[in-house]
């Protein structure tokens, strides 16, 4: 009967039931769906971080000056996280734990990628071809170099018109040099004949020293790199995926560029801008509505000269033929004796619009890209990585580019997309950590230079004592080698030596690392494994700190934590507000039924019966509507199982990929059901309290 009264009451007051039920329904729906949505984001972020970079735990030196974090605002370059002195031992100890899958050595730092400008690189090619007597290559490269110098001359003319008198004076020498380089006589030095090579190399030096610096450079590119055991990194972080080129062979030194970094920072600007427009169109932006696209097109038209300048005669012919159909006939300007038809054609070509963009984008890559330098560092190149070491000095290490990689689904992530992978040995050298080569090299240098090890106590005597022969011997021997070998040769030799060498696992592991990532077999047991790891490491007194991935993630960890706080706060506020509304509505309803409740009391209903009746009404209301809300949320999540496409970089990081698929999580389901039950129980407290205070007298006084 009480159930019936409760149900009938709910039915009898349809508007109230719908209003209160609607709130409960919406609350349960929102909390289940919303929490699933946010939980999925949280899980995705966790997966993005754990399976790409951090592992489940990070090991670092205990008591280091700065708190260890993977993603600090300054990349950690200014921070001192200490070092793990005996990585090999740490790895052996930790990997012996049953739930540990792998321990990966690591170290982060910034480097500068200096690749020189376009002219620098072409001049380097020219020098090689002159040295090797490669006639064809010399001819082809020379054409490009001369075009680049001509383009500089053209730009200089434009600049002159707007330059003030002071700067004009300063640029006078440059102008004279450019004038010299513009003359046919200058280029005749490259014509084969007696002693041509010497003349050519002199001319090259002039171009390298006086002209190349006038060409706007690509600028210095800052790069964040992660020194690691690349082979083990690749096989243990399951989000890693090779994109271009090849993997660094096991044990070899080398670098793998992050595809995002490679495309955004090292790619030809014109090509990058076209990619950017294409990506926007692919994501649904209309070309004509895209203000940035119009700006990019304008910039690309302005860059036509730098593209034209990279083409030799053969490639110029190929480009003109390839673009002719798309661009149509270019009217020749009869008034301009130096009319450059290729430049005019490229300018028309780059003036793209919504109708022809996709066709011309394809043409760019099919026809133009094969003839220009698409990236400032090519796969297979060896380039010099410069980085501030631990001691604050700039250190340089030549590294070979083997290929590019990406973290699956995180191609555009600004966080994981920033890391490039460098082998552990190069990292140690760049960071200032001692490697077997540098030790051997140092010994060799000591021997050659006659340097002896001197103890601190005897230092004064050994250096300044009357009997000392140390200084004189050192001075004599120190520069002997330098006379015969140029610096350049020494560099080349060094690069070749280290590129060819394969390091054993023993060598990679034996040495210092800054930190290490620990990957688990079963992440659910991470708490227990963390404790086990701490106990194991502290028992041998290695001074290693174990940090969970959230704490170790620094700024990202804080972001995820804030995200969770917002999530909990939003859930709490929403629950509170809806409970207040539900409670208030039920209280009003109870007060409206004072007479009825009083009558029931008068005819013999106890306070318990009244409490059960009102309580049951609220509970039934909550169960029916809350249950419907939870079911709707589950159905909605099932309906969205195909996922939503995600546009922005940050959203892709949150989504853990280009498509966001919200999934029903157990915690969200529990929150939804919990809210339903809680709203049912909590919202009965006050109304039932009021109801049980109603006396039978109220029935006697009732006037309806």
């Amino acid at each position: 009967m009480i159930v019936q009264i409760a149900l009938r009451n709910l039915w009898a007051s349809k508007m109230r039931t719908l209003l209160v039920g609607g709130i409960v329904y919406f609350g349960a729906l929102l909390l289940t769906f919303g929490n699933s949505f946010l939980d999925t984001i949280d899980q995705n972020m966790e997966r993005s971080i754990v399976n790409a970079i951090s592992g489940h735990f990070q090991l670092s030196q205990e008591g280091a000056k700065d708190k260890f974090e993977l993603f600090s605002m300054d990349g950690g370059s200014e921070k001192d996280f200490g070092q793990i002195n005996d990585f090999k031992k740490v790895r052996e100890l930790v990997e012996a734990l049953p739930n540990v899958r792998a321990v990966i050595p690591m170290g982060f730092n910034f480097a500068v990628v200096t690749t020189g400008n376009l002219l620098d690189r072409r001049l380097s090619d020219l020098r090689d071809s002159v040295k090797t007597d490669d006639t064809h290559k010399t001819q082809v490269t020379l054409e490009v170099v001369r075009r680049l110098v001509d383009s500089l001359k053209q730009e200089e003319k434009t600049a002159e018109a707007i330059t003030d008198s002071k700067r004009k004076a300063a640029a006078e020498e440059d102008t004279q040099n450019l004038d010299l380089a513009a003359k046919d006589a200058f280029w005749n030095q490259f014509v084969r004949g007696d002693g041509w090579k010497e003349k050519a190399l002199d001319a090259l030096e002039f171009l390298e020293n006086k002209i190349a610096r006038l060409m706007p450079g690509e600028g210095l590119v800052w790069m964040m790199y992660l020194g690691t055991d690349i082979e083990r990194f690749r096989s243990n972080f399951d989000r890693f995926e090779k994109v271009d080129g090849e993997l660094v062979p096991p044990g070899r030194r080398g670098i793998l560029f992050n595809k995002r970094f490679y495309e955004e920072q090292l790619k030809n600007k014109t090509a990058r801008r076209l990619d950017d427009i294409k990506e926007r169109i692919d994501l649904g932006t209309k070309f004509d509505d895209c203000e940035d696209c119009a700006q990019f097109i304008k910039l690309n038209i302005g860059q036509a000269r730098s593209i034209a300048a990279q083409l030799d005669d053969d490639s110029e012919a190929a480009v003109r033929k390839g673009l002719a159909a798309a661009v149509g006939e270019i009217p020749v300007d009869p008034k301009d004796p130096k009319f450059d038809e290729t430049l005019a054609l490229l300018k028309v070509f780059f003036n793209m619009n919504g109708q022809n963009f996709l066709e011309r984008y394809k043409l760019f890559y099919d026809v133009i890209a094969p003839h220009i330098l698409l990236h400032s560092v090519n796969i297979g190149d060896t380039f010099v990585l410069k980085s501030f070491g631990k001691g604050g000095y700039v250190r340089s290490v030549p590294v070979k580019v083997y290929g590019t990689f990406r973290f699956q689904g995180l191609d555009k992530s600004p966080i994981t997309g920033a890391f490039n992978l460098v082998d552990m040995t190069s990292f140690r050298e760049l960071y200032g950590l001692v490697t077997p080569e540098s030790l051997a090299e140092l010994d060799e240098m000591k021997k050659d230079a006659g340097i002896k090890d001197v103890t601190a106590e005897n230092a004064e005597d050994a250096l300044f004592g009357e009997e000392s022969d140390l200084v004189a011997a050192g001075e004599a021997k120190a520069f002997e080698g330098m006379k015969e070998n140029s610096l350049e040769q020494a560099r080349t030799q060094y690069a070749e030596t280290i590129a060819d060498r394969a390091y054993t696992q023993e060598e990679i592991d034996s040495g210092l690392v800054i930190n290490a990532a620990v990957l688990l077999k079963d992440a659910r047991l991470s708490e227990a494994t963390g404790k086990e790891m701490e106990a194991t490491l502290s028992s041998v007194g290695l001074g290693i700190k174990v940090t969970g991935w959230r704490d170790a993630s620094g700024i990202v960890g804080i972001m995820i934590m804030l995200f969770n706080v917002v999530l909990v706060a939003a859930t709490f506020i929403f629950t509170l507000v809806s409970l207040i509304i539900v409670n208030n509505a039920l209280m009003m309803s109870t007060l409206q039924r004072t007479g009825e409740i009083g009558t029931m009391r008068a005819v013999g209903a106890s306070q318990g019966v009244i409490r059960r009746m009102i309580g049951l009404e609220a509970v039934l209301l909550a169960l029916i509507f809350g249950g419907a809300g939870v079911v709707t949320a589950v159905a909605l999540l099932a309906a969205f199982s195909g996922g939503f496409p995600v546009v922005s970089d940050f959203m892709q990081f949150l989504a853990g990929g280009t498509v966001f698929i919200p999934k029903l999580t157990v915690s969200a389901l529990l929150i939804g059901v919990g809210f339903t039950l809680f709203s049912g129980i909590f919202s009965t407290i006050y109304p039932t309290w009021i109801a049980t205070r109603i006396t039978p007298r109220e029935a006697m006084a009732r006037q309806d």
Binding site: A12, T599, A602, V603
Partner: protein, 242 residues
């Protein structure tokens, strides 16, 4: 039994015994003395009326007899049980088993049918088997002439029909006394008369004890015993304090 409108009765063995009862309550800063030292008794099977003008204390006395209110002083004995000092739980039980209520405004549970309204007190008693409940509900609905309307809800019934349902609900537990607070006040004279006839016949045929509070002369004239009240005291029919 012949009506004896002026005698309050004083037998201590009545079904209802009211002894020196006083009821006072504060109203703002002043103390209202609603009932001042009233004593009387009602015998089993009597058809009695508490009569008097508004504010004379008749509803207050009725409430105290119905265990809805408690006296400030004195004692009330219902079917041999002294109600003084009883807790809410015990008073509730007394109401459920010994007292039936008929209200001026019928006070049916709007979401229940006529049948369910009548059945409700039996369900509260818990120990009445289903078959017995059905028998009694059907019997009392038949007695009040509403067997054919048993599945109707209150809003589908007329005022008179609702009061009949209320009478059936008051009788279904077969209480020692039935209290009726101005039972005809919200009915037209014709329907009021019919309701009085019904209660009178139930009294005569089944021996049910009825106590009314009323100022309606038609009701007073039908009562076996009339207790006149003026300013919270018993009086004679002319309004003189006894």
């Amino acid at each position: 039994m012949q009506p004896n409108p002026s005698s309050p009765g004083s037998s201590a063995d009545g079904i209802v015994v009211v002894k020196d009862v006083e009821k006072s309550y504060p109203l703002g800063e002043i103390m209202v003395h609603a009932v001042r030292g009233v004593s009387f008794s009602i015998q089993k099977g009597e058809f009695s009326a508490l009569a008097g003008p508004s504010g004379s204390g008749k509803t207050t006395i009725l409430n105290m007899i119905g265990c809805v209110d408690t006296p400030s002083k004195g004692e009330i004995i219902i079917a041999g049980q002294n109600t003084s000092g009883l807790k809410d739980k015990e008073l509730t039980k007394l109401r459920l088993f010994k007292v039936g209520f008929i209200f001026q405004t019928f006070n049916l549970v709007p979401v229940l049918t006529a049948y369910q309204n009548v059945e409700f007190p039996l369900l509260l008693q818990k120990n009445v088997p289903k078959a017995e409940r059905e028998r009694r509900v059907n019997m009392y609905l038949e007695k009040v002439g509403l067997k054919d309307k048993m599945m109707h809800r209150p809003n589908e019934l007329s005022g008179g029909q609702r009061q009949r349902v209320a009478i059936a609900r008051a009788l279904v537990t077969e209480p020692a006394i039935v209290l009726a607070d101005e039972p005809t006040a919200n009915l037209d004279s014709q329907t009021g008369q019919e309701i009085l006839d019904l209660m009178s016949s139930l009294n005569e045929n089944d021996g049910t004890t009825f106590i009314f509070s009323t100022h309606d002369h038609n009701v007073i004239s039908r009562a076996h015993k009339v207790l006149w009240l003026v300013d919270g005291r018993l009086a004679d029919p002319k309004g003189r304090i006894a």
